[in-house]
């Protein structure tokens, strides 16, 4: 646990360094594409007006000065499969983004889409030492949460305090300085497979970059695609990616659940490839140009030519109707959405006051998906696009970049996590200097 605390604190320090330098890169390693954005921070408070304006997630304090996307290689289900290939792809993206930004970036914030995230809700409570809540009390309350058994070979990705309660009052955002007797805290802990995380770290290190933070892609696409009232009232964000479909549930501006389904757009492509007997590249092209999930009478007449270079005339000159294509795609998309439904049910999504579902990610661009999704997921479904960020190229504003944009916001304003608070005094090593300082401060 201390290891985790220290490694996460080291990442925070890296982030601080990068902020001081003013340039940071964000890296979205996905199954279908790798996106790299270079952000420049020009002073945190330059554009901050009144408090009401400040809630634009602070996105006015940075601008995107470099953006590059490359086809992902060596990634399956959001996890790194062939390390060298992935490393090359990351190098391509980073170099192109650096070239566009014309600055060298050393710090990178990455996100992880696969790695089987698992959510845990923790709670802990302490009796206050004196009646006012101090930072130390919060630290002790966080430390009193019982660590669940997250399993062998798994690591904590996020550990966010989502709710503080002081005696009978719950729903406090910041209990510091308030008067009470008993402080209790609810924490959301997200764990991920350590091996996937370690592979990503290794790849980034091989590219001479320093990791300044890591986030779950379901979480960051939720940050960028859900609007403020959705985050406040309760909503789920479904990020239909290439290899995985991430989903995250937000309420009161905190993520309370995240999960991922190991199915995505690549499976749809594979189905097309198998069903029509075309190469994967052609299948991908057909999917993006002609894909859909709701067949109409018109689609029977719309014929799609399939090229080919086998030399067999019959094979190369085939054509099929769009209805057939939809017939191949729809079951797979339904399967994905049903899996998402199952995960949402397991998380108890129906108990939330508002049950808005936002579809984002590259897969959400399939025509007619919202109709299909509302049939499976519920009535309140909308297609979401990520927030607009200053300086982002037009090509990178689509829903496929939800997690990249979310990472930008995450880089600018990370949420308080467990490791942003002090270690409670009792946990310091016995001879620590901090402990001595603390003792002096308490006694004089």
């Amino acid at each position: 646990m201390t290891d985790l605390y220290q490694s996460q604190c080291a990442m925070r320090r890296m982030r601080k360094q990068a902020m001081d330098r003013g340039v940071i890169a964000i890296l979205d390693v996905g199954t279908s594409k790798i996106a790299c954005l270079v952000l420049r921070f020009d002073g945190t408070d330059r554009f901050r007006g009144a408090d009401g304006v400040g809630s634009l997630a602070g996105q006015s304090s940075f601008r995107v000065i470099g953006a590059a996307t490359t086809r992902s290689r060596g990634v399956r289900f959001g996890e790194i499969d062939a390390m060298n290939e992935t490393e090359r792809a990351i190098r391509t993206a980073v170099q192109a983004a650096q070239k566009m930004a014309n600055v060298r970036v050393d710090h990178v914030i990455a996100c992880l889409s696969g790695a089987a995230p698992r959510s845990y809700g923790l709670d802990g409570s302490v009796v206050l030492e004196d009646s006012m809540v101090s930072e130390q009390d919060i630290a002790r309350a966080l430390a009193s949460c019982e660590m669940p058994d997250i399993g062998e070979g798994r690591e904590v990705l996020h550990a966010q305090p989502v709710n503080f309660a002081l005696d009978h009052r719950s729903g406090l955002n910041d209990p510091r300085g308030q008067i009470g007797n008993r402080l209790s805290v609810d924490m959301h802990l997200l764990s991920a497979e350590a091996s996937a995380l370690r592979n990503l770290l290794y790849c980034i290190k091989r590219c001479d970059l320093e990791l300044a933070g890591v986030a779950s892609s379901a979480y960051v696409s939720g940050i960028s695609s859900l609007v403020e009232d959705e985050q406040e009232l309760g909503a789920a964000c479904v990020d239909l990616g290439g290899g995985t479909t991430g989903l995250s549930i937000f309420i009161k501006k905190h993520m309370i659940y995240a999960d991922s389904v190991r199915l995505g757009g690549d499976h749809v492509t594979q189905d097309i490839s198998k069903g029509l007997q075309v190469p994967l590249a052609v299948a991908e092209r057909i999917k993006t140009f002609h894909g859909g999930v709701v067949a109409t009478g018109m689609d029977d007449r719309e014929m799609i030519e399939v090229g080919g270079d086998t030399g067999d005339y019959e094979h190369d000159r085939r054509s099929f109707s769009r209805a057939e294509l939809i017939g191949i795609m729809r079951p797979r998309v339904e399967e994905i959405l049903e899996d998402v439904r199952a995960r949402l049910d397991a998380a108890g999504f129906e108990h939330l006051p508002s049950q808005q579902i936002v579809l984002t990610g590259g897969g959400s661009q399939i025509p007619g998906l919202d109709g299909l999704a509302s049939r499976i997921l519920g009535q309140q479904v909308r297609l979401g696009r990520p927030l607009r960020v200053q300086g982002l190229p037009q090509a990178a504003t689509g829903p496929a970049f939800a997690s990249a944009v979310g990472l930008c916001l995450f880089a600018a304003h990370p949420q308080d996590e467990w490791w942003d608070f002090d270690i409670p005094v009792e946990r310091y090593p016995a001879r620590s200097l901090k402990r001595a300082v603390r003792w002096f401060r308490d006694n004089w």
Binding site: T70, R88, A89, R91, T92, V94, Q95, Q98, K99, N102, V103, R104, C207, D208
Partner: protein, 292 residues
């Protein structure tokens, strides 16, 4: 048959090209490469070239020659010296002590040093040197005007109003218009002497000169061996008193040896020995007359 085609080019940069690109984007490295490296190359090349003694000498010779050729252009040449405001004698002196071989480049003339030399001449009060267009070295001299003759340890010398030596004098007769002073330290108080001379204008035809006594006060020496002994302080009013007495009672035409004004409260007359005898005789007559 299967077509053999080249595999698709890998768009990924190699590790080394990636690192070089990042290195190139490092600001310090860029500055070093863009300014540091050329500067170093330049300094290094110049250093290598200059390390040979022969080349250094060649370079120096070339530079000197180039400099010479510019300095000796006709625009910069000085052909003659014009001395203004000097008597013929002083003119000759100046030309003697400033040995310049005309024509000469104006870069080789050290005007300040020449000015010092010329000002070093006794007869020169101040000098202005400049090079006039047309290659003329113009020397403008302000001469000292002799105001007084000093009979010093090395003979007669002419002094100006400030006591500065102007030149030697062959004989008193050469400048009968100037007053004479004598005595040790007289040349240091020329101004006072001139004041006294001016004050003594009514008896100017009788004055032989002024003598500094004991380096502290003046004696006015008149003909017939008469002297007026003046006090150390305020000699001019004392002299004026004597002149006033002379004007009233023709004092100085009498047989006096000296008028001693050193104590202003008690001016004293020293009579000549014969006058004393005469005075005694007259007193005796006066007494005899009373006697019988």
């Amino acid at each position: 048959m299967r077509q053999v085609s080249a595999p698709r080019r890998d768009p990924a940069p190699s590790r080394w090209s990636y690192r070089l690109h990042r290195l190139w984007l490092t600001p310090l490295f860029r500055v070093l490469l863009r300014t540091g490296l050329p500067a170093f190359c330049l300094v290094f090349a110049v250093g290598v070239w200059m390390s040979d003694q022969g080349r250094r000498d060649d370079l120096r010779a070339t530079v000197l020659e180039l400099r010479r050729s510019i300095q000796e252009r006709p625009e910069f040449m000085v052909r003659l010296m014009a001395v203004e405001g000097a008597s013929a004698e002083l003119d000759g002196d100046i030309r003697e002590i400033v040995p310049v071989d005309f024509p000469i480049s104006s870069f080789d003339l050290d005007l300040e040093e020449m000015r010092q030399t010329i000002t070093g001449l006794d007869a020169v009060k101040s000098a202005q040197l400049r090079i006039r267009p047309g290659g003329i070295l113009s020397v403008e001299i302000t001469e000292r005007t002799p105001a007084i003759i000093w009979r010093g340890p090395s003979g007669l010398e002419l002094l100006d109003g400030e006591g500065h030596r102007v030149g030697p004098l062959t004989g008193r007769a050469a400048r009968p218009d100037l007053p004479v002073i004598a005595g040790q330290g007289a040349d240091l108080h020329v101004a006072q002497a001139l004041e006294l001379v001016a004050a003594a204008r009514p008896i100017a035809h009788r004055i032989r000169g002024l003598e500094r006594m004991g380096e502290r006060r003046w004696d006015v020496v008149l003909d017939r061996g008469q002297r007026i002994l003046l006090p150390e302080d305020d000699p001019v009013p004392a002299l004026e008193r004597v002149i006033a007495l002379d004007g009233a009672e023709d004092m100085l035409t009498r047989d006096l040896l000296a008028v001693d004004m050193r104590n202003s409260a008690r001016p004293t007359l020293r009579l000549a020995p014969r006058a004393v005898e005469e005075y005694r005789r007259l007193q005796l007559i006066e007494a005899g007359a009373t006697n019988g």
